[in-house]
């Protein structure tokens, strides 16, 4: 049972993640309470602080919810209670007789190896279903109404980050996250999406810049307020972001995405528009709209809320401690050497067989 705890944990999370994520809530309605967002020293909406988007709700909605964007209290209780149970089970003392070989070695979603790499102490995927203006959500995506990505246009292919060709052959064949270049998934975005851990962000504002520090792989998004998109054809990491303020809302428009960080297959003609609105002392409403006419016939949109993080962001020095990449490559070489030795042994033994038959 112990050996299966993490499998169960991941399975539970994946259900929530794949299961857990309708059209934008009206931003005005979301912010319609008595709360009045503070302004900073520059007279801008004050979005500064350390925020997290960790949640059991995911980008896309599980099909069983259909076009229903809100969860019932019973559904919330089941998901949040299930996650709490799984975490408690994984955090409980493990039977000392359990060996690493007894642990699950393939938990899906790319998690493999003894214990699938992580236990509860190392992950922080959130413990609650996403609330937007108090409403428990079945997905981040609100448009299309089924909460799922629109159909891809014919001929569009979406590479699976965990199924890479030539895995283990060269460092460049590995995922960007394994190389400490960016996060798994799309933590820095845009669209900024939560992951298994490190779902913390810091927002800092000056008169002409908004900086968003992304904990995962210590990326910093620099948004040029009042700026113009570059027209030189260059595509920086995380794209080219400009922004402006509309009343209480920071609007950020990003284009010029690099292929390396394609968003669900979109990059060349991708435009992401994000809207950040502080809707409470500890809440920032985050809304996004994704357009790429070469990938989808329709745009798609969604929303969630950041909540204030407890504490500050600590340094994630990924590359400096990246023993995994050399381990992956060295492991692949060792596997090749073993396989080659086996072939040699088989070849050496091969002539003996006919002799035996004779």
């Amino acid at each position: 049972m112990n050996a299966n705890r993490f499998t169960a944990l991941l399975a539970g999370l994946s259900i929530a993640a794949l299961a857990a994520p309708a059209v934008f809530a009206d931003p005005a309605a979301a912010a319609a309470g008595a709360y009045k967002a503070p302004m900073n020293a520059y007279g801008q909406p004050d979005l500064e602080g350390t925020w997290t988007n960790a949640t059991l709700t995911a980008l896309e909605r599980p099909k069983e919810y259909g076009t229903r964007k809100a969860m019932t209290p019973e559904e919330v209780k089941k998901i949040e209670g299930g996650a709490a149970q799984l975490f408690a089970a994984d955090a409980a003392p493990r039977d000392p007789k359990v060996k690493t070989t007894d642990l699950p070695h393939d938990c899906g979603l790319g998690f493999s190896g003894a214990g699938c790499g992580y236990n509860a102490a190392w992950i922080d995927p959130g413990s609650t279903v996403m609330r937007v203006n108090g409403e428990a959500r079945t997905s981040f995506i609100t448009d299309p109404p089924d909460g799922r990505l629109p159909p891809y246009k014919p001929g569009v292919t979406v590479p699976n980050m965990f199924m890479r060709a030539h895995y283990g052959e060269n460092p460049e064949n590995q995922t960007l996250a394994e190389r400490c270049l960016t996060s798994f998934g799309y933590s820095a975005g845009p669209v900024m999406l939560p992951l298994l851990y490190n779902n913390n962000y810091e927002i800092a504002q000056s008169k002409d810049t908004v900086a968003i520090v992304v904990e995962m792989v210590h990326d910093v998004r620099i948004i040029h307020i009042g700026g113009k998109h570059r027209t030189d054809g260059e595509r920086p990491w995380m794209g080219d972001s400009i922004g402006w303020y509309e009343g209480p809302t920071l609007v950020v428009e990003t284009t010029n995405f690099p292929q390396a960080t394609a968003l669900r297959g979109a990059w060349k003609e991708l435009t992401v528009t994000e809207r950040f609105t502080r809707v409470g002392p500890h809440r920032v409403l985050y809304q996004f709209r994704v357009v790429d006419p070469t990938v989808w016939d329709a745009s798609w949109s969604g929303e969630y809320e950041f909540t204030a993080s407890k504490g500050r962001i600590f340094e994630y020095a990924c590359h400096e401690g990246n023993y995994a990449l050399s381990g992956i490559l060295a492991g692949a070489r060792a596997d090749e050497a073993t396989a080659a030795a086996g072939k040699t042994a088989a070849a050496t033994a091969a002539p003996a067989a006919p002799v035996k038959k004779q």
Binding site: A41, S206, H319, L325
Partner: protein, 285 residues
């Protein structure tokens, strides 16, 4: 003769490093009055960079052939791995930024610094694209951007995406060492004083082997001389490495117009051949 001339020149530049205007001067006060302010403090927001060669060597130095050399038939010549770079691999001269010109190493630490120089290519953390630490991050050739509001002071460095968040409420000792350390700031008049602790011993001061231990404390003083110039000072305290606290100081300049845009230098991917090339399925020859 050559050695004597070098020493004379070295002594001269050491004196010149003392010639900065003091923040208390009348000229500085007049310029300070015109500086933009936010939250009652000078507004450092903007893109900044040094115009010195401190990242090559924080001590005064003449130009030289390479960061790592080997014995030649007449004089030392560039290490084999640097030869192909020709003039690009050479070291530009600098006035130095160490007050007094020389870092007060203990004899043991000085020997280690000299040994670092002999093994520069394999030891300088910058070669592997490691995070640079403080104070080095401030005087690399790449710029950094300060994003300051009435309550936040964030420094985002182009090099390796390094970042520092200056804390204005002291949380106590850093719970764990880090490459960029823990920065706690307070305002001393119009000077931002930042105490940096909790750094690993993995960072260097420059490309000349100058190093420190994991017990180093850095006290930075950031003062705007005028709207486009910062006087930066850093006092280094590290009894395990130095015989006394010592200071470095330099000017940092605002980037203007089209230069005032921070780029990205994710050098991690640029060092993969260096760090992992031997582990390729088919290593390059």
């Amino acid at each position: 003769m050559k050695v004597l001339a070098l020493m004379t020149l070295t002594g001269s530049v050491a004196v010149l490093t003392q010639s900065y205007a003091e923040p208390s001067s009348a000229a500085h006060k007049a310029a300070a009055a015109a500086i933009d302010r936010v939250g009652g403090h000078p507004n450092f927001s903007g893109v900044w960079s040094v115009m010195n060669t401190a990242n090559w060597n924080i001590e005064p130095h003449l130009a030289s052939a390479a960061l790592e050399v080997r014995p030649g038939p007449v004089i030392p010549v560039p290490a084999k791995a640097i030869v192909a770079l020709g003039a690009v691999g050479s070291v530009p001269a600098g006035m130095g930024v160490v007050e007094g010109g020389t870092i007060p190493y203990t004899p043991e630490a000085l020997a280690k610094r000299d040994d670092n120089r002999k093994h520069y290519l394999e030891r300088d953390p910058e070669v592997k694209c490691d995070l640079p630490g403080v104070p080095r991050a401030n005087y690399m050739s790449l710029p950094f951007q300060i994003v300051q509001s009435g309550k936040t002071f964030l420094i985002s460095y182009e090099y390796a995406g390094a970042v520092r968040d200056i804390l204005f409420s002291d949380p106590g000792p850093a719970p764990i060492d880090s490459w960029m350390g823990q920065s706690v700031g307070k305002w001393d008049g119009d000077t931002l004083v930042v105490t940096v602790t909790g750094m690993t011993d993995g960072t260097w001061f420059d490309r000349a082997g100058n190093f420190h231990s994991g017990d180093m404390k850095v006290v930075e003083r950031w003062t705007m001389m005028n709207e486009n110039t910062i006087r930066y000072e850093a006092e280094i305290t590290d009894p395990a490495t130095f015989t006394r606290p010592w200071k470095m100081s330099m000017l940092i300049y605002r980037r203007l117009g089209e230069d005032a845009r921070l780029q990205q230098f994710k050098c991690v991917e640029f060092v993969e051949e260096l760090m992992y090339g031997d582990l390729r399925k088919e290593p390059l020859k």
